[in-house]
């Protein structure tokens, strides 16, 4: 399978056509999870633990079952006990046994909000009444929320069987530390000895939620013959099929999952919460069951990302060359192992060519919801620490922050801190583009400061299947198994149109259910344009080969006498008119049958993304309030297939990063209950909080994709946390190392600074 790189000028790639699913979305016709309904469906509801940590002594469901209108009640006892089985899902790995227990508790409730029972009834009111009639006897246990508290020797233990992995000799006592990760290079002590200057900082971040506006929703039907249907919004319906089948111990091919439109995921919908419950309730009741989470449940019971405690120590020569870096990361995993600390270790120094380093990471369980992937999982957290430390180093050395990054920048041929050799990366180009921007030179007003930070994300390839069919009139349908979370149908349509030489309106892109197309990994990891796109392009190339073969037969010539160009097969000698795809499709029955091609692949060679951001903030010195004045994000995007959606990914990632930096945080009361499980007090950016977000798309093509595409969606959330903290530093002189940068914290730091003077 050759993957030659096509180069501009392109007919379709790089344009901005209206997305094919757009009209349905602006008219309200598009069906998201909660919009879907089937006849006779019951309403499912979940009973959740009010305790952060408790033994479940008993659950009595008799009164609930007896209530008129209740058709099914399930508890953990209705689900098989699984053996440990690690499952790679998009960007992080989870143990399926842990996932199954997260879906519904067995002997212990491990966080406030942990599901302990579920009911299905003929109306929401009856379902809610049924929940009230279930009596659960809990034996509350001491709980632990903070990551360092959970690591302490006397911390309450969540899992008696958990032993710290990655440590030799292997420990024999239970711990909340699930795993130790370590990445090393060179001689750390020598590296620090060689340094002229060192800087050390300690940093903390709080758990934050992906914040998708659409709560989880699904409809499930367990047929009398054991054939199951699930309709849900998800980032990966093949993942839903696999997880449901394993959690319920049934065959994957007995489950068909149909993806509905998804209202945001950002990684948080690359796992299951409701679907296995809905299936179990449907099995028991014999009716379809619809389940929709409330916003309160989304916050209390679906994975945020980790809160963290980190230290960074850097050593550098006077000219800015880094000689050593030591990073220690302690990440909250929530109730089960699997924080993104491993990925964070790998990305920590990915932008830097450092000869000596040690990156140590700890995956720690806590009595909080099991964390789920959140856009470049782990990377924004560690970048907050590393980029804040680099900013202080730049100040100490009196070197411009962009210059300091250029001095130590990774380039093609450099071995990345996480292992592979960099090829075709555009990091330096991105730094230069930002340095050349108007924003970089723009003057600042009173109480304003400018912060700079860089960021990295690997992006992945992975498994995708695509099929391309040519209708009898030459129109083309591209079908994939990748749910569209941000416009990927548009990019599939465009890549197919470009490859086939057709106008974009002649191509339609659809997403098929798990029974109608081959396997695809989740839509996540910034993989879809790259990997699913590759499958689409390869399938189109098969169509071209097939069309050419048929034309050769129809023309009655040798293969080397024709060429495919601009959507048609032309005779080199021009002795007859060309045969268009429509011509060939019309006659396809006579030349071998329908024109159709499918490609299933495991895409390798995804190009990593580098970002460099400038953030201007204004800080009110009397109240500590922060306003975002100006923001520019430069990023190496490989090739912008549809620039507007690439810009949109960058702008959305920046907005999430700024929310994370300034105002978002999970707040818990002393009992371990979340205090702000709603959009009023979990404060995400609103339209008036942000200015226009300027983007600079740097295109250093990835030769392992025919159009040079690299993943773009995740890198943009990585730099903003430190960019904001560095801007506060510039505006106020205050270095705040704890997120969020809330006004009380800024004022308190300001008071401390003044007292110290």
């Amino acid at each position: 399978m050759s993957q030659s790189l096509d180069t501009p000028p392109f007919s379709v790639i790089g344009g901005r056509p209206v997305r094919p699913d757009g009209v349905d979305k602006v008219t309200g016709r598009a069906l998201f999870g909660a919009d879907f309904a089937v006849a006779g469906q019951l309403c499912g509801r979940v009973l959740r633990s009010p305790h952060a940590h408790a033994k479940i002594v008993s659950i009595d469901t008799r009164k609930a079952r007896a209530l008129a209108g209740v058709k099914a009640v399930v508890t953990g006892a209705d689900f098989p006990n699984l053996k440990s089985e690690v499952h790679e899902g998009g960007e992080s790995s989870s143990d399926l046994r842990d996932l199954a227990i997260n879906v519904i508790a067995r002997d212990k409730a491990l966080y406030e909000g942990h599901a302990v029972a579920a009911v299905a009834a003929i109306s929401p009111k009856i379902a809610e009444e049924a929940l009230r009639l279930i009596s659960v006897v809990y034996e509350p246990l001491p709980h632990v929320l903070e990551v360092e508290a959970a690591m302490a020797a006397d911390a309450p233990i969540l899992h008696d069987h958990l032993r710290t992995g990655g440590v030799t000799p292997a420990p024999t006592t239970a711990s909340n530390i699930a795993k130790r990760h370590i990445f090393e290079r060179g001689d750390l002590a020598q590296g620090f000895a060689d340094a002229d200057v060192t800087y050390e900082g300690r940093y903390t971040t709080q758990a934050v939620h992906q914040g998708y506006i659409e709560p989880h929703a699904c409809v499930a039907q367990w047929g009398e013959d054991g054939q199951c249907d699930v309709w849900c919004s998800s980032q990966g319906h093949f993942m839903v099929r696999a997880h449901c089948a394993k959690i319920l111990n049934i065959s994957l091919s007995d489950v068909r999952v149909t993806p509905l439109e998804i209202g945001g995921g950002f990684g948080g919908k690359t796992t299951v919460y409701l679907e296995p419950l809905a299936l179990a309730l449907s099995r028991q009741s014999g009716r379809p069951v619809k389940m929709v989470m409330t916003r309160d449940e989304v916050f209390r019971a679906t994975g945020p990302t980790s809160g963290a405690a980190m230290t960074v120590r850097l050593g550098a020569k006077r000219d800015g060359t880094l000689t050593a870096a030591k990073v220690e990361l302690k990440f909250q995993a929530g109730a089960f192992p699997g924080s993104p600390v491993g990925a964070a270790c790998m990305t920590a120094l990915a932008c830097y060519d450092v000869p000596n380093f040690e990156v140590l990471g700890w995956d720690v369980v806590t009595n909080t919801p099991k964390v789920a992937a959140y856009r470049a999982p782990g990377a924004p957290i560690v970048a907050f620490a590393v980029e804040s430390a680099m900013d202080e180093l730049a100040r100490t050395l009196k070197i411009d922050p962009i210059e300091l990054r250029l001095k130590n920048a990774v380039r093609d041929g450099v071995i990345a801190s996480y292992g592979p050799k960099y090829r075709n990366i555009g990091y330096v180009e991105t730094l230069e583009a930002l340095k050349a921007s108007d924003h970089y030179k723009a003057p600042l007003g009173p109480n304003q400061g400018r912060g700079f930070a860089v960021g990295f994300w690997f992006n992945i390839g992975g498994e995708s299947t695509a099929s391309v069919h040519v209708a009898e009139d030459g129109g083309v349908t591209v079908t994939t198994g990748s749910p569209d979370i941000g416009g990927s149908r548009a990019s599939m349509q465009m890549m197919a149109a470009e490859t086939l030489g057709l106008p974009v309106e002649r191509v339609r892109a659809k997403i098929a259910d798990t029974a109608s197309i081959g396997f695809s990994n989740v839509t996540g990891g910034s993989r879809t344009t790259f990997a699913t796109g590759l499958a689409v392009i390869e399938a189109c190339r098969k169509i071209i080969a097939d069309a050419t073969r048929r034309a050769v037969g129809t023309f009655g010539v040798e293969a080397d006498q024709v060429v495919w160009t601009h959507g048609q097969v032309e005779l080199l000698d021009g002795s007859k008119p060309p045969l268009t795809l429509a011509d060939l499709a019309r006659e396809s029955g006579k030349t071998g049958g329908p024109m159709s091609a499918e490609v299933a692949l495991n895409a390798q060679g995804a190009g990593p993304g580098f970002g460099a951001h400038l953030c201007d903030l204004e800080v009110d010195p009397e109240t500590g309030q922060v306003s975002v004045v100006r923001y520019t994000a430069a990023q190496d995007v490989g090739r912008a297939i549809h620039p507007a959606y690439v810009e949109g990914q960058i702008q959305g990632g920046v907005a999430q990063g700024l929310g994370w930096a300034l105002n978002e945080a999970y707040l818990f009361d002393p009992g371990g209950r979340m205090e702000n499980p709603g959009f009023l007090d979990y404060r995400m950016p609103v339209a008036s909080d942000l200015p226009m977000i300027d983007t600079i798309l740097v295109e250093v093509a990835n030769p392992r994709h025919p159009f040079g595409a690299k993943g773009v969606g995740e890198t943009p959330i990585v730099p903003p946390l430190a960019a904001a903290a560095n801007a506060v530093r510039a505006a106020t002189g205050l270095r705040l190392n704890d997120l969020p940068l809330a006004p009380p914290a800024i004022l308190a730091a300001s008071d401390l600074a003044r007292a110290a003077e």
């Binding site: 901005r16 209206v18 997305r19 699913d21 757009g22 009209v23 979305k25 602006v26 008219t27 309200g28 016709r29 598009a30 069906l31 998201f32 909660a34 919009d35 992906q210 914040g211 998708y212 506006i213 659409e214 709560p215 439109e261 998804i262 209202g263 945001g264 995921g265 950002f266 929709v292 409330t294 916003r295 979370i485 941000g486 416009g487 549809h642 507007a644 959606y645 810009e647 949109g648 990914q649 702008q651 959305g652 990632g653 920046v654 907005a655 999430q656 709603g678 959009f679 009023l680 995400m684 950016p685 609103v686 339209a687 008036s688 942000l690 226009m692 977000i693």
Partner: protein, 161 residues
Amino acid sequence: MTKLSVRTTVNGDEQNFLADPTTTLLDALRDELRLTGAKEGCGTGDCGACSVIVDGRVVCSCLMLAVEAEGRSVTTVEGLAEAGRLHPLQSKFLEHAALQCGFCTPGFLVAAKALLDVNPSPTETEVRFWLAGNLCRCTGYDKIVRAVMDAAAEMRQERCA
């Protein structure tokens, strides 16, 4: 509780449906009338995904009881396009790529229409503050604001023409 009869005009059509006294207008629109454009993002009036226009004012339909719509006129996203022609706001949202997942889009379109009905020439700041009650997690609002201002400009031109 026995259901009450509600007579209301929705997108120009007279509707008559039954609702529990405690059913919200949002649930009645979605479940009784199958107008699923308005979405529940939070149920507590903090995200605007359920926005509809009632007697000329944009409101959160999750904060209204269905019975309060008695005798009133309601406009939902489904009422913006007319006879196969998209409203300028809808076209501009598509043109500017002002949506990614599209879940918040109906709420934004309805709220933006209400803005342009009372202020045909809003500044960027006015647009942002008017729409502050509509949460978007995908776009960072940039292209949404551009689309609204561009639609306003087009509608002003159409009025002059």
